[in-house]
Amino acid sequence: MTQVDTNSGTGGASASPVPPGSVPSSRSDRAAEFLSRWGVLAAVILTIAAFSALRPEIFPTINNARSILSLSAPLLVATLGLTVVLVMQDFDLSFASQVGLTGAVAIVLMHSYGWPWPLATLVALILGVGCGLFNGLLVARLGFPSFISTLALGTLYLGVEFQITGQKTIFDDSDGSIADGYRQLAQSRPFWSIPMSVWVALTIALLLWILLEKTELGRYLYAIGGNREASTLSGLAVTRIRIMGFAIASLAFAIAGILLTAQSAASSPNRGAPLLLPAFAAAFIGSSVRRQGQFNITGTVVGVLFLQIVATGLTMLQLATSVVLMVQAGILLGAIGLSLIGNRAR
């Protein structure tokens, strides 16, 4: 925690008010910061304890843990990508459509055109990066506001997906048109019976953690998110870096799309849509573990797991969907409120 000796400043008489990012001054502020930093972790543990108590025979099991991990893998990959965009203080609301589009393209190439799966996968990845470059170009180079323009771009990508798939569910008609190798991308279990999708997600988490925390590019992305104008005036190639950020994020979205369709060996229309809210929610929850409230990879991983634990636990309680939705919303708002308390303290 940052300490400040108020007497040590050259100017005790700084004319400007103390800006955000300064230090909690009172005891209640410190308590709030503590609550927000550790609150999310506490919430995860409490939730696990609660579900374990309510469903002791099925919730606290290795199998359930595996299932939670594998269910959360595609969401995790997408949210990791989203985190990169959020670090720059930009939005990418088109990511869900990118997930759907790239997954569908891989399936269609194999199913309708008989492409070998590695090639189809590669094309899907390249398409993803293309979407990211396009988003980045519009937002960073041409100055389109990212919130509203990525909303429009999402609609565009959804339209393209529907054009390609005819808005139909495409699956293997037991003719082997969706290659086994493709399914294995998500379904094989290389170690400890944990599916490949989880290993892919963890690898991407590690890579993006290194990118954001350890590399020059990561520092620049945080700098741009912290203050774009100061970054420009510090000589950073802000436009280029932002475009790269969008492209890296979109590569992750494409991987999420591939994992989703490999998991089910099928493509259904607008497959990414259910990820939209949870991904943003998870990233925001994750941002509260950082002192400055910045988006970060570790927090995102915790946030995604938290959401999936809640979702799985609520399913096991066999509550009506209506109740599940309401409880889920309540938990989300609670977690966001928790991070807000911390942000105010800051």
Partner: protein, 507 residues
Amino acid sequence: MPLVQVSGLVKTYPGVIAVDGVDLGFDQAEITGLVGKNGAGKSTLIQILAGAVQPTAGTIAIAGEEVSDLTPHEANRRGMSFVHQQTVGVPDVSVAENVELGLGFPRRFGFVDWKRLNKRAQILLDRLGASIDPRALFGSLSVAEQRMVMVARALAWDAKLLVLDEPTASLTDNEISHLFTVLRQLRADGAGVVFVSHRLDEVLDLCDRTVVMRDGVVVDDTATKQTTRPRLIEEISGTGHERAAQLDQRTKTRRRVGDIVLEVENLSDGRRVHEVSLHVRSGEILGLGGLAGSGRTELVRLIYGADRPTSGNVFVYGKALTDPRPRSRLKAGIALLPEDRERQGTIVEFSVSDNITLPSLQKHRRLPNVAVPLRSSERTAAQRMIDQLAIKTPSPQTNVGALSGGNRQKVMLAKWLEHGADVYIFDEPSHGVDVDGKEDIYALMERLADDGKAVIFISSEFNELVGVCDRICVLREGRVVGELKDGITERAIVDLCYSHELNDPSQ
């Protein structure tokens, strides 16, 4: 009984006394001129009258009735109307709507009567001799036109006291003379007018009475007939400042001034900067003097590539710089320390260390081809800078947001020293910094010059310029109006700042 009377008015901000015990009355049928340097307290006084700022102490009486907790709404209701320095109009609606905003639009069958609305606005604009279409979008107007609309808006209220803060900046001579006619007419109708301006000739021409403020107090209040331009300048600049005395005693050792490092040729941005040419040499501190809005910040932003010029050239060591972006200007050796430390100069949620190494991160790679900075190397560099510049911070990992203004200024300088540059441009570096911090900053600028760097120093506190600079260029309305070299005095700078003539050919 005066229309408005303030007594014992005090306004303090943390570390600053903006208004320090002011007693002033404004009468009906009188035009009062209010003059003084930036920071003299004029704007704060007006904001208090407008109800936008609450005084720390003192009273305001309107028509003999003491009013506590004055709000903008209450100020309007009691017959005061304001034209602020910054236009506060709604850009997305028409001129007529802006003029009558808050007055209640004329209605017909319950709907807005646009014809009548436009006509009323037209009458007011005609009175001002402004050829502005009431139906035009406010945002589509030029700055001068917008200001005229705001004057019309103030007139629409039929105010008993009309307060205008720098209304003539960027107006044409024709518009100014129309405005003056209207103001004189208002006086004849019994209204009081307060006219705040940096243009002394206008004040002498228009006002019945002239009030000079300096350092938060009224230092002169006389009938305009009995005062003169030299006397006003004398009062505005003041004599015997303790700070000035202190600064004058600085032993200015003449540095060996070398070759021209930075040269600017006919630089314009089409709005605030007009054909500025200047140069600065190695080992030289060039001061840029001027009043707020004189275009100094805009000029250095053009030099640094933060904004694009419409014409003109910038040379470093005789080589023209073509790429107008901060990134390439920095590579050419120019470094800017912006005035707004929070929004432009630092990243407040980054640590001191991360701020210092941001532009030179590549120097700290573990392996030359792998873009992964080595934390320990960064910390060593940051610590070296912290020691060298005596930055007061608990640790290199402390957030810059937690530092005082003076130390943030030093972090900005440390960032550029780490990166390296030949020209250092300081925009109001001592703004909001206490006395010791200021001395540190002056010493650092001098050290840079001693090391053969070229330094440009912008300040609104002219005693600083006098104390530190080898040479001073004074800007007014986006142009260099004079250069001072030997025996520079504060008085001479003030003189140049106020050298505006009504018939200035540049207008």
